[in-house]
Amino acid sequence: MDFLLGGFVTAIQLLLTGDSETYSAVFATVRVSGYSMAASLALGVPGGFFLGHFDFRGKRQVRLVVDTLLALPTVLIGLLVYAFLSQRGPLGEWGLLFTLPGIAIGQTFLALPVVVALTATAVEAMDRHLRTTLITLGVSRTQLLLSILWEGRLGILAAAATAYGRVTTEVGVSMMVGGNIKWLTRTMTTAIALETNKGQFAMGVALGLVLMAIAFVVNFSVFFLRRR
């Protein structure tokens, strides 16, 4: 029990004293989640829009697949990406194994189903008259997409926040593809896992709290989008 309080104190110390190990992991986490969120939003939001907005044969089946992919285990993604990026894998040449961009690739696969499924749900829930209204006002196809997304921004925001939570807390991909290399690819979550394995529970809690502090800052920075 006492390690909880200890963790809280340590978390504040780590942040205030500018502990270099911690900050190295913080930056790694921020960079990696930045990449993977950018990629998964760029691909997933249009994808989700398409899935939610248009009616086509087999739409429900596609949703079923996407929903199943929500349960893609991080370690499995880690293994798949590892298989491709390994020296002996087809993309070994790129030298992305044990690098932050490598992790970001794996996390993108992790976040993509979340963004697609939730964006599609948000778009689907929108009033069917919105589309007609926008077209009658003279939107182009792109403007239609942008305006519908803007009207449904609360849903997209929820999609992004959920995907961010998933990306930023995952361990499997970061371990497998990143290798948890100190000063290089050690992210907050792999650091937490390591400290916990070392039996340094207080340190694990401290790093966990730091991770939540980052999440708070990130969510706070898009707070204004919630205004109605």
Binding site: T132, T133, I135, T136, L137, G138, V139, S140, E151, R228
Partner: protein
């Protein structure tokens, strides 16, 4: 003469593989005209307007705009045509942002406040009181009028209005009438307007189109006669009416068929007047008299039990009959004047 703005050929529309709800063989809408669409619920008015706005693609057939084919999002119509939908939808923004939205799309974003205010005032809303309200801070009629203002602000070439006065008060309906006429006169806008308020509609339309079960009826088809019909003597079919009396019609295609009776075929006489042999003779009461502004003729509605029939009269004839609302009258028309709608 100017070429037609719209030309329609062999148009059929059905929703999601259902039965066809609209089938128009040919129709053209002259540039600068105001066309009224009337017809009962579900007759296809909104469907036709959505097709004319290129929001939906017809299942079969073609709609040409300025003699060119067009499709949703096509540049030829995007900024030229706009539709006020039947359920006015406001985006989750302020009234100002809603009205300004279309202007911004057209690149007129630089200070559109005055344009928005002008559009709002056309529908009787003061910009100071309304521009900054949120979309949900409006009454039903106010929301309807904001939607209309958002269309008027665009000064489009073709303005399609679906029930623009549905929940609008009488004073605003007059304002909207003025705005519509001004749009045509000042900007040369072509208008197609669907409305159940025939008095209001007939006061602005150059021409009107009667839709019934997805088909265009011949003009003058203000009276619809519903079955069920029973076979009767001498080749005619019958329907007994609520207040006594019987309607006689030519043999219908089926016993639920709907008959169309041209107003011009109906004549009014004083109650108790002798009825010419072979004509339908019905006794009713005048329930309203309305002036048709363009023609200066008077539209009389005659209640015959639950049936309401429309007759058009010259002022002279009306004076001769001493008609006033509440007065009993007798109606005559030939059974042969009833035509049958095509089954849908």
């Amino acid at each position: 003469m100017k070429p037609p703005l719209y030309t329609i050929r062999s148009l059929v529309h059905a929703y999601d593989g259902g039965p066809p709800v609209l089938a128009i063989e040919r129709l053209s809408v002259a540039a600068g005209s105001i066309l009224g669409l009337v017809g009962p619920n579900g007759s296809g008015k909104s469907t036709l307007l959505k097709l004319l706005a290129f929001v939906e693609k017809p299942t079969r057939g073609e709609i040409r705009f300025k003699d060119r084919p067009a499709a949703p999002f096509s540049d030829a119509v995007r900024f030229q045509v706009t539709l006020l939908t039947q359920e006015p939808y406001l985006m989750r923004r302020s009234v100002h942002a809603n009205v300004a939205y279309g202007l911004k799309l057209r690149g007129r974003s630089r200070d559109c406040r005055p344009q928005v205010a002008a559009a709002l005032s056309l529908v009787g809303l003061a910009a100071e009181r309304f521009a900054d309200r949120k979309w949900y801070q409006l009454s039903g009629g106010e929301a309807q009028r904001v939607s209309l203002a958002a269309r008027l602000a665009l000064q489009p070439e073709a303005l399609l209005l679906d029930e623009p006065t549905a929940s609008v008060d009488a004073a605003s309906a007059e304002l909207i009438k003025a705005a519509v006429i001004r749009a045509r006169d000042q900007w040369g806008t072509t208008l197609v307007i669907a409305s159940h308020d025939r008095q209001w509609l007939y006061e602005i339309c150059d021409d009107s189109l009667h839709l019934f079960r997805g088909r265009i009826l011949e003009s003058g088809a203000d009276n619809l006669l519903f079955g069920p019909w029973q076979p009767g003597p001498s080749g005619f079919w019958h329907k007994p009416l609520a207040g006594g009396g019987v309607l006689r019609v030519p043999p219908p295609p089926d016993d639920q068929a709907v008959g169309v009776l041209d107003t011009r075929a109906v004549s009014l006489t004083a109650p108790g007047a002798a009825s010419p042999q072979g004509l339908n003779t019905l006794d009713g009461v005048v329930s309203r008299l309305v002036l048709e502004k363009n023609t200066r003729r008077i539209v009389a509605t005659i209640s015959v039990g639950l049936l309401a029939l429309t007759v058009k009269l010259d002022p002279e004839r009306l004076q001769a009959l001493h008609l006033y609302p509440g007065k009993a009258v007798r109606i005559h028309f030939a059974p042969q004047a009833v035509a049958w709608c095509d089954p849908a």
